[in-house]
């Protein structure tokens, strides 16, 4: 109960002080807000470190209990411990060995995994580009216009495709994106205010459901 009240007080106080800096231009509030944001960034970074520890324990347990795919967990743990070892022994992410790991393993794997999505996006497009209603027709037509406007073959087919593509991105797509952004911003502000006013408390532990007889 005490931690519940304390958590709510901490969230509301810290949040309202940081929010005040957006509305009041005052040196003490600005300095306090900056301090709180810096503190939060340290805690968030430490949470990332704890996340790494969690990954370690989950896969150690998987290996220990010989769960399905424990061999792959060994590969993951090996890569994790190797990267951690190199990082901590050579002085951080700016060291040459860490840069080598980034360029040799991390970047190629990330770029190739995302490039693999090209195949799946194309198959998804094949399924999505079936016109079933007027709305899906709009989706298909505008998607094709933007696609054809960006590739050389589109301009070869009709030199107006790039011009129409620019108009689509500048007028209807921008209007739609602007409306979506306005809705998202209002939703974010409303949800954030509910947290700051203590109406929603996502940080509190959920109590186990009680069974009524």
């Amino acid at each position: 109960m005490v931690s519940r009240i304390l958590s709510t007080v901490v969230a509301m106080t810290a949040g309202l002080l940081v929010l005040a800096n957006f509305f009041f231009y005052s040196d003490p509030i600005g300095a306090l807000s900056l301090y709180l944001v810096r503190t939060a960034s340290v805690v968030a970074a430490f949470a990332l470190v704890l996340g790494g520890v969690n990954v370690l324990t989950v896969h150690l347990n998987k290996i220990y209990s010989r769960d399905k795919g424990w061999g792959y967990s060994m590969v993951l743990l090996g890569a994790l411990l190797f990267t951690l070892g190199v990082g901590f022994l050579t002085g951080g992410p700016a060291s040459i060995p860490m840069q080598n790991i980034f360029e040799t393993v991390l970047f190629p794997l990330e770029a190739t995994l995302f490039s693999l999505l090209a195949f799946f996006v194309v198959t998804a497009a094949y399924r999505a580009f079936r016109v079933k209603s007027f709305e899906t027709g709009l989706f298909v037509v505008f998607g094709l216009i933007v696609l054809l406007g960006q590739v050389p073959v589109g301009a070869m087919l009709w030199d107006q495709f790039p011009v129409i593509k620019d108009w689509v991105l500048d007028v209807p797509a921008m209007a739609g994106a602007r409306g979506i952004l306005l809705g998202v911003a209002l939703g974010t502000a409303a949800t954030g205010l509910r947290v700051l006013l203590g109406i929603d408390r996502p940080y509190a532990d959920r109590r186990p459901p009680t069974t009524d007889r």
């Binding site: 931690s3 958590s7 969230a11 106080t13 949040g15 940081v18 929010l19 957006f22 301090y35 810096r38 805690v43 430490f46 949470a47 990332l48 704890l50 990954v55 792959y72 590969v75 993951l76 890569a79 994790l80 411990l81 990267t83 990082g87 901590f88 992410p93 980034f102 393993v105 991390l106 794997l109 990330e110 770029a111 490039s115 693999l116 090209a118 195949f119 194309v122 709305e135 989706f139 037509v141 505008f142 998607g143 933007v146 696609l147 689509v168 209807p172 797509a173 209007a175 602007r178 409306g179 979506i180 809705g183 911003a185 974010t188 502000a189 949800t191 954030g192 947290v195 940080y203 532990d205």
Partner: protein, 229 residues
């Protein structure tokens, strides 16, 4: 060809092997990626953020204030849950909630501030600055013959329509209930069209970015093996 280049090329083929179906080579590459990415992220977080904070960089002039982030970090350790079947530390979890609450509070405040002053205000200002005033479309080009007028009108109508699409509707009541329902339906219908156009354009851009990445990897491989022209 360096060892690093050979490793990168082998890993690239291991990932692409997924096109033939799920296989051990892809699974190894996948787990290698996760392990390396987590390790790299932990090293970056530790050396760039946590370690400077340990040396008091957050508030160099006050040791007490500099200790606050460390206290929150220690409290956060209580949130690390034991493995299933091990002894429960549920009592400690409540202590860790204070650190999580601090993160959530500051995060919510930044989200509200960012939404209001980073998105809502600039977008409303940009929409309000679109001119439909005939005085702005004087000679030699009259208003209705101006492309800019029709573009401004389309952006305005599209933005309002899309915004109406997110309106929470309830059963209309009162004498003007039907009018209100019809008004909302009309604008949200326009909004649905605008959203489909926008999603079509965004989908096309996503396809283009992924294909560009694919072309980049293929060209890199061709360069590595000396096959590029």
């Amino acid at each position: 060809m360096s060892t690093g280049t050979i490793i990168a090329a082998v890993l690239t083929f291991m990932v692409w092997s997924y096109l033939l179906g799920d296989n051990p080579a892809f699974r190894i590459a996948e787990h290698l990626f996760v392990g390396t990415a987590v390790g790299y992220a932990v090293v970056v977080a530790w050396f760039n953020v946590v370690q400077p904070a340990l040396s008091g960089a957050v508030a160099p002039q006050s040791p007490v204030l500099a200790a606050v982030p460390l206290v929150f970090c220690l409290l956060l350790i209580a949130k690390v849950r034991p493995a299933p079947g091990r002894s429960s530390r549920a009592g400690w979890s409540g202590v860790g909630n204070v650190a999580v609450a601090f993160l959530v509070g500051v995060g919510a405040a930044l989200a509200v501030g960012g939404a209001l002053f980073g998105t809502l205000w600039p977008q409303v200002s940009a929409t309000a600055s679109l001119s439909l005033d005939p005085a702005d479309y004087g000679d030699p080009q009259p208003m209705l013959a101006s492309t800019f007028f029709w573009q401004n009108l389309a952006v305005l109508v599209g933005t309002i329509g899309t915004f109406f699409y997110f309106t929470f509707n309830t059963q209309p009541q009162g004498p003007l209930g039907c009018f209100r329902e019809g008004f909302t339906r009309f604008w949200s219908g326009i909004g649905r069209w605008m959203i489909m156009m926008t999603l079509g354009a965004l989908f096309a851009n996503t396809v283009m970015s992924r294909v560009a990445l694919l072309i980049g990897r293929v060209r890199w491989l061709l360069d590595v093996f000396g096959l590029s022209g």
